[in-house]
């Protein structure tokens, strides 16, 4: 079974630029999550999708972050414009229906200069 795929793996941008991340979850996993992990901290949820609907986006800075999951499979997370404090690893995870265990992709490491 293929794992969660993410791209790109690394991205360096200047502040005020925009950036987008892509995620392909494990086949059959209806729930998809985007987490932000700042150095020295645990991952924190940004947004959760169930199929193509948003379940929880309470921690998503909606003035600059957006996400979509068209057709209930792949997902993209966008930041526009980026700030210095957005430098972090962005992790995508997926889980089976009713499953507590989330399976993570390798993450995208973002550096904002």
């Amino acid at each position: 079974e293929a794992g969660v795929a993410q791209s790109p793996r690394y991205k360096i941008i200047e502040k005020r630029q925009s950036v987008a991340f892509w995620c392909n979850p494990i086949s059959g996993h209806a729930t998809l999550y985007w987490y932000q992990q700042i150095l020295g901290q645990g991952p924190k949820l940004l947004i959760q999708f169930q199929n193509n609907g948003v379940v929880d986006d309470s921690q998503l800075p909606k003035d600059r972050f957006s996400a979509e999951r068209l057709k209930g499979v792949d997902s993209t997370l966008k930041i526009q414009p980026a700030k210095l404090e957005d430098s972090a690893v962005y992790l995508c995870a997926s889980s089976r229906p009713g499953g507590e265990t989330q399976y993570f992709g390798p993450g995208t490491r973002l550096l904002v200069l």
Binding site: G42, Q48, V55, E100, P106, G107, R109
Partner: protein, 115 residues
């Protein structure tokens, strides 16, 4: 409000010895816990979990203990191997067992196993 806490940022043990990683939680509604292991430049990998109906769950060299009255859990690795060197995260589903909601993570503990 840090609902899941790992108060030891780092731990160093000798190969072959026991590693004990600790985790405390404040939300008494949490009834399921997971441990993840993370190598540099990789995503967290699920390691082991425990439900609050148990006080112990074992999988090979890894055992997780849960003390509900103290709101404390620990991960024991015996014997420790150099390949176990990684960051370990304790996590709990915000909505409890059977819930696919967000995981609340601790800050992580970096384990170094010396040959």
């Amino acid at each position: 409000d840090q609902q899941v806490k790992q108060n030891s940022p780092s731990l160093s043990v000798q190969e072959g010895r026991i590693s004990i990683l600790n985790c405390d939680y404040t939300n008494s509604m949490f009834d399921y816990f997971l441990w993840y292991k993370k190598y540099p430049a990789e995503g967290p990998t699920f390691l082991i979990s425990i439900s609050s109906i148990k006080d112990k769950n074992e999988d090979g060299r890894f055992t997780v203990f849960l003390n509900k009255s103290a709101k404390h859990l620990s991960l024991h690795i015996v014997p420790s191997q150099p390949g176990d060197s990684a960051v370990y995260f304790c996590a709990a589903p915000a909505g409890g067992s059977g819930n696919t909601g967000k995981l609340i993570f601790g800050q992580g503990t970096t384990l170094q196993v010396k040959p």
